[in-house]
């Protein structure tokens, strides 16, 4: 696992991801504490798309893929899973950092019922689903088209659609941003959970296709 960390987490990736959340927290104003989750969720999903697109394609770019494809398919898929695990774990960490940076701006808590700690607890449940979904989607599409830039482009189109008003109206609480678009008037608001469960289910399905994609497009 240590070697996978070294391979898929080069310094430039760590630098741009930290810079991204620091700049985001500095330029995006947040008035209420309940707005932080939504603001971070959208930004971190974008970061996940860019961050994970080259999970396998780094082998193609470095011209190692012709040697890599001689290995057992299970081993090849195992590499992709391990790298995804490392990157998703890191991105969840970055999301928590981003939340902290936003909270540092001292937003207002609306009611006594909505205290900062509880909102953060809900965020901690929601954000892994978001990060996992967008990371796996990015890897899957990029591997399918065998080009990280085209892969990122296609996923970004879907990202733009997902954050649009039409998608929110259409998908309601079942979209990939069900948590971010939910209005937390009360802590008993759990309708967003359906969207997050769907995110995890879709991510699982895409992960199951990794060996097939590697075989056909590796």
């Amino acid at each position: 696992m240590k070697k996978e960390v070294k391979i898929c987490m080069p310094y430039y990736k760590i630098a741009y991801s930290i810079a991204f959340v620091v700049i985001l927290s500095a330029i995006q104003p947040v008035v209420y504490a309940k707005e932080i989750g939504g603001a971070v969720e959208r930004a971190v999903s974008l970061l996940a798309v860019v961050f994970c697109a080259d999970t396998y394609l780094v082998e193609v770019q470095s011209k190692r893929s012709e040697v890599f494809c001689l290995y057992n398919l299970k081993k090849q898929a195992g590499v992709v899973y391990k790298r995804l695990f490392v990157q998703v774990a890191y991105l969840i960490g970055i999301s928590l950092l981003a939340y902290g940076l936003f909270y540092w701006q001292k937003p207002v808590n609306l009611t006594e019922e909505l205290d900062g700690g509880a909102l953060f607890g809900i965020y901690c449940i929601a954000i892994p689903g978001t990060v996992l979904f967008w990371s796996v989607l990015s890897v899957t599409v990029s591997n399918l088209v065998r080009n990280r830039w085209i892969g990122m482009g296609v996923v970004l189109l879907f990202w733009f659609f997902s954050i649009s008003g039409k998608a929110t109206q259409f998908l309601k609480n079942w979209g990939p941003f069900s948590y971010g678009t939910c209005d937390f008037g009360k802590l008993t608001e759990w309708r967003w959970l359906g969207g997050k469960v769907l995110c995890v289910v879709f991510a699982g399905m895409m992960l199951a296709f990794v060996p097939k994609i590697l075989k056909k497009r590796g």
Partner: protein, 290 residues
Amino acid sequence: MSIRIDDLTVTFKNGVTAVDHVDLEIPHGIFGLLGENGAGKTTLMRVLTTVLAPTSGKVLLDGTLYCEANYEKIQKKIGYLPQEIDLYPSLTVRECLEYMGDLAGIEKRESKKRIDYYLEKTSLADHQKKKMRQLSGGMKRRVGLVQALLHEPDFLIVDEPTTGLDPEERIRIRNLLVDFAEERTVLFSTHVVEDLMATCNQLAVMKKGRFLYTGTMRELLNKARGHVWECCTEDESLARELERKYHISSKQYTEEGIRLRLLGENMPSESGCIACDVTLEDAYIYVTNR
């Protein structure tokens, strides 16, 4: 271990035929594959590594037919060093080899033993803690060679391993290939004639997707014998005339005048031309331009 290729053709989607109905038998030891850039050598190698499926024809590795069902079995027997490969720059040499050994399915203790052996053999033991990005081109090639050998393949395919290396590194890589070919079949593709002269007895010359020659080095040299002449002249116009009429394998400005090595079917009628010994380079030029 022997490899047999029967009527193999590779045509790409854009209509380009990179390998055109070729037959070949690769025996044990080093077998050279010589040809200009774009001759189809890399495409042929990609078929032999199972990376690329042929359009038609068949390939047999020790009697096992190249097909989807046999790929996994075949892949275990193949070691491959592609023309260009950038091995994990953030890992050290040892880490990189351990990682690739693990991917190749080698048991940890065995992998360590083999890495130690090959690092010693390739004079990389002192550099094993260096990051891959810190290595010179020649060292990277040697690490590439070790990764291809880690799982003890019966068939080693190396694609232009000496390109861009200094003379000392080239000799080192060549000698390593000769050592490793003792127990296996090695397909050594190159466009550097000297590399084959120094390493193998059997070779194939490829041009535009076809084999112009397959056989021993000696037979290839014999083919060109009697078709190579040397001529030295001070007359520049005569030199230009000879260049126009014959294939030139070398040209030098010396104190005596312009010294040319000429290749042609018949002895030049110009005075001062003498028959001379054939080099592999002459033979290659002769065969590819006949």
